[in-house]
Amino acid sequence: MIKSLVKKGEYFDSVSLMIVGKDVAQMDFVQDATVVMATQENKSILKTADLYLDEFEQYDDTDLLIVIKSDHEEKFDEIFKNVDDLLVEIRNKKDDQGTFNPRSLENAIQIQPESNIAIISLAGRYAGAEAMKALKSGLHVMLFSDNVPIETEIELKKYALENDLLMMGPDCGTSIINGVPLAFSNAVNKGNIGIIAASGTGLQEVSSIISEEGFGISQAIGTGGRDIKEKVGGMMFISSLDTLKDDENTDVIVLVSKPPHPAVLKKINAKLKNISKPVVSIFLGADSNLLKESGAITAETLEEAALLACAISDDLEISKVSEFLEERRKDFGKIASDEVKKISLGRKYIRGLFSGGTLCDEVQIILKKDIENIFSNRALDKQFALADSWISKGHTLVDLGEDEFTVGRLHPMMDFDLRNKRILQEAKDKETAIILFDLVLGYGANEDPIKEILPIIKEAQIIAPDISFICSVTGTKRDPQNRGKTIKSLEKNGIIVMPSNAAAAEIVNLIIKKINQ
């Protein structure tokens, strides 16, 4: 039976509620549970989850719904009381500093008059209005929220351009401004390489590699993935180019993105002609002919882009980068041969489980050169779209950060549960040869990824000792999780850790090829 408790006018942010919801679902006697604000979207989710009650009709955005499914009628009171305690706990946790939190942007600026950036991560339907308020108050904005209409994005960016403001996002998760990592970003060295990115994890991978190579970042600006679409017209991408062009602390510029719309690419290319600083571009999956006229140095992978930027920063010939990558490939051959030995006959497929969407894309691009029929829930070629994202088929690369997985749940960089389950699911599949995964470190990400994932890998290794586990770790030694330490723990447990996502893809490619021989 399903029972509900409604708290009118009690607002909690969605992340707090997800944390509570997770705990509630694990309570004794609870079959299913959800704790959500009574928005239209949440109500329709409840309907699909069979947790909807007719009385919910009368409630709206500012009312809290606690819905419990249980066969133990006598336990409901106790369960509701426990939920209540959890909510009180999470609210008190917020208040425990005793400091006054302003209720509005307006008052926040009064309290901290020198404020210059607003980071906004509200639900999409509120985020646009709040971002506009921030811009109008003269603040630069990082808009983390997604589900903001594209018209709103255009309006925000237009206003920002007219007022010399930086408008990052919507759907911008990563930026490093004046050396400070914001939201989901890594603790990188300061240096003379500037990055402009329409891809969050792409930016994380490039900036982390640069930092781990001993070089540094002047500014890393995330524009949000839609900036390079035709409608938005690259407004912030181009404005960022203009800014970094004149920035005396930036000597090299790296552009990271999916292929921009041709009209936008044309604009970017035109802009590049007026920039005397070296520019490295990685437009993942773009036809390299399209890029030639830009005058930019083009890279094929995120890693290559990072290394090219480092070489330029170090006044080295850029040919050194391809020499280095070529040299390294030889070592990879040996690693692949060793791994193939341990994979039993009949195991033939790669199963890639990603928390970073761009990393998933990059592996697809690298693998598809040699391997046919790679399925994905963000297939670059629609004919290879997974019919059911929850079930792998042949070679499969899944981005667990896609909406279908994150509705009502934290992003897989924070909450490992779903991917952990999927790892076990893949380990049980007799056709799985390789489980590939990414670990993204840095601020915003899970504080102890090893604790989350290692026990599961060990379990999977018991289920299937004849599977190869391959991984790459995006992050730096200065990140709170510490990349070096993370890699050591993984390697100690028989996981092959590659220096980059691209390198991981290369190893996978070699192993699959060897299996097929």
């Binding site: 006018g9 607002y11 942010d13 992340v15 709206d60 955005d61 500012t62 917020k94 005793g98 006054f100 939190n101 302003p102 209720r103 509005s104 942007l105 307006e106 008052n107 926040a108 600026i109 309290i111 901290q112 020198e114 404020s115 210059n116 950036i117 607003a118 980071i119 906004i120 991560s121 509200l122 509120y126 985020a127 709040e130 603040l139 630069h140 983390f144 929220s145 920002a160 351009l161 007219e162 010399d164 403001l165 930086l166 401004i177 004046n178 400070v180 990592p181 914001l182 939201a183 603790a187 500014q219 404005s239 203009d242 800014t243 004149d246 920035d247 602390n249 601020y443 915003g444 709170p480």
Partner: protein, 469 residues
């Protein structure tokens, strides 16, 4: 066009949304302010747009209203009998707190108080008789607020009751309020037994004439000055009136001694005032009323001039929407209950005393009143945070009423309904709690946030008026 100037400064962040982003920045030693964000009120977009479009007009009107509020000079100028002074007062009329209500919808304490008043007026001998008369429509009911009057809790005023007479010397308007009966079984909490009626008679026969003569001798008493001092002495003059009562006592006692020749009455009157920490509430409330009434009918203003509850409904009026009431359901306060009582015993919010919040006192000034923090969660910090939050929805700050702890910052003054709906934040009221049944009395004291509904209706009311022009 570029944003290079951002690179010249250390970043200082305003974080709106996920707390973890703030925590991460703090760990790195960066400056960050976290906004405790709540969604705006659930209100038609178009209404917000109209209000936004007319922002300049509304603000200009609000400036005018704020000026009137800040320039108000409320004095106690005398005492009289309700029927002689309250506009429209007559036999068989009962004034009550809150917005208009009919007999079939009155709450327990309101019913008890009305019955008590009917008995007090000699129209009935007991509950049954009085109830019959009331149910038969023998009495008219009208909100105090529509008669230049305010009343605490049930706020029932009948023709024979003595009242304080206050004058706003700047604008010449008057306000009225009955004399506070003390705690225990009292009319304002819905008690109607002999003890209650006898006390009311004593107030009429001894307290009233004694005070009347004393005030006459003094000419007038500056109440704004007393409140300003009381805030420095730990009152917020809604739930705590100990300092205000003491200051009033100091002002009135010599005059009582001078004007009353019966030593026995002098002693009784002085002891009564001295023994009732809430005596001053019935002066702080009409101070709010006489100050805010002067600011009524300022076209286009979004500032609240009355906010009150009748135990069933919560109502408010704006300076810019004439005498229209905007009404929603009254909520049950989050209270600290007296031993033996729980939330189940509590009546929904009741009384005109939220006029104190409306004028920038009470819950808005609770940072000045650390002694009553147990009502608001336990720590002095909680009280300060409540006041700080109220600056978010206030149009201005007071010039006379100040909070020592906040470096004598003026209290948040002039509740702006547009800010309330935009920020999804309603006024914070501290209040007494009545038992839901007539005749039992006070069961606790506590706090509550006003319901959003009436504010949404008020915003719509104002927007419609702006659109129709």
């Amino acid at each position: 066009m570029n944003f290079k100037k951002l690179f010249d400064k250390k970043i200082e962040v305003v974080n709106i949304g996920l707390d973890s982003f703030k925590d991460d920045l703090e760990k790195q030693g960066e400056k960050v302010v976290n906004v405790e964000w709540t969604p705006p009120a659930n209100i038609d977009e178009n209404i917000l747009k109209i209000l936004q479009k007319n922002k300049t007009i509304i603000e200009a009107a609000n400036e005018k209203v704020l000026e009137i509020i800040l320039n108000g000079k409320p004095y106690l100028v005398g005492l009289d009998i309700a029927r002689n002074v309250i506009p429209g007062m007559k036999e068989n009329l009962l004034l009550h707190s809150g917005p208009p209500i009919t007999w079939d919808r009155v709450s327990g304490p309101m019913k008890g108080a009305m019955i008590g008043a009917i008995i007090y007026e000699g129209k009935a001998k007991n509950f049954e008789e009085a109830e019959k008369l009331a149910a038969a429509g023998e009495f008219e009911f009208s909100p105090c607020h529509e008669h230049e009057t305010v009343g605490p809790m049930a706020g029932v005023v009948s023709a024979s009751m003595p009242v304080f007479v206050l004058k706003n010397e700047t604008f010449g308007n008057y306000a009225y309020c009955t004399l506070n009966e003390g705690l225990g079984k009292v009319l304002r909490y819905g008690a109607y037994d002999n003890e209650t009626i006898e006390r009311l008679k004593w107030i009429e026969n001894e307290l009233y004439p004694t005070l009347k003569n004393a005030v006459e001798l003094l000419g007038k008493i500056d109440l704004k000055n007393i409140i300003a001092q009381a805030l420095h002495m730990g009152d917020e003059v809604h739930n705590r009136n100990r300092a205000g009562t003491s200051l009033f006592y100091r002002a009135i006692a010599p005059a009582i001694v001078q004007t009353c020749d019966k030593q026995e009455i002098v002693a009784k009157v002085l002891n009564f005032i001295n023994g009732n920490d809430h005596f001053f509430l019935n002066l702080s409330m009409p101070v709010g009323k006489v100050t805010l009434d002067a600011a009524r009918n300022i076209e286009n203003s979004s500032i609240v001039v009355a906010m009150c509850r009748n135990g069933t409904d919560f109502g408010l009026q704006l300076a810019g929407t004439k005498n229209d009431w905007f009404i929603g359901k009254a909520l049950v306060p989050d209270a600290l209950y007296f031993p033996g009582f729980t939330k189940d015993d509590a009546n929904p919010d009741i009384g005109d005393s939220s006029i104190t919040e409306t004028v920038g006192l009470g819950g808005f000034a609770i940072a000045a009143s650390p002694a009553i923090v147990q009502f608001v969660g336990g720590t002095a910090n909680d009280a300060v945070n409540y006041t700080l939050a109220m600056y978010e929805i206030a149009f201005g700050e007071n010039n006379m009423y100040q909070i020592p702890y906040l470096n004598f910052r003026g209290t948040p003054t002039g509740i702006d309904v547009t800010k309330v709906v935009e920020k999804g934040l309603t006024p914070f009221i501290d209040t007494g709690v009545a038992h839901k049944d007539p005749g039992i009395g006070q069961v606790g004291a506590g706090v509550l946030s006003a319901p959003m509904d009436p504010f949404i209706k008020a915003a719509i009311g104002l927007a419609k008026q702006l659109k129709n022009k």
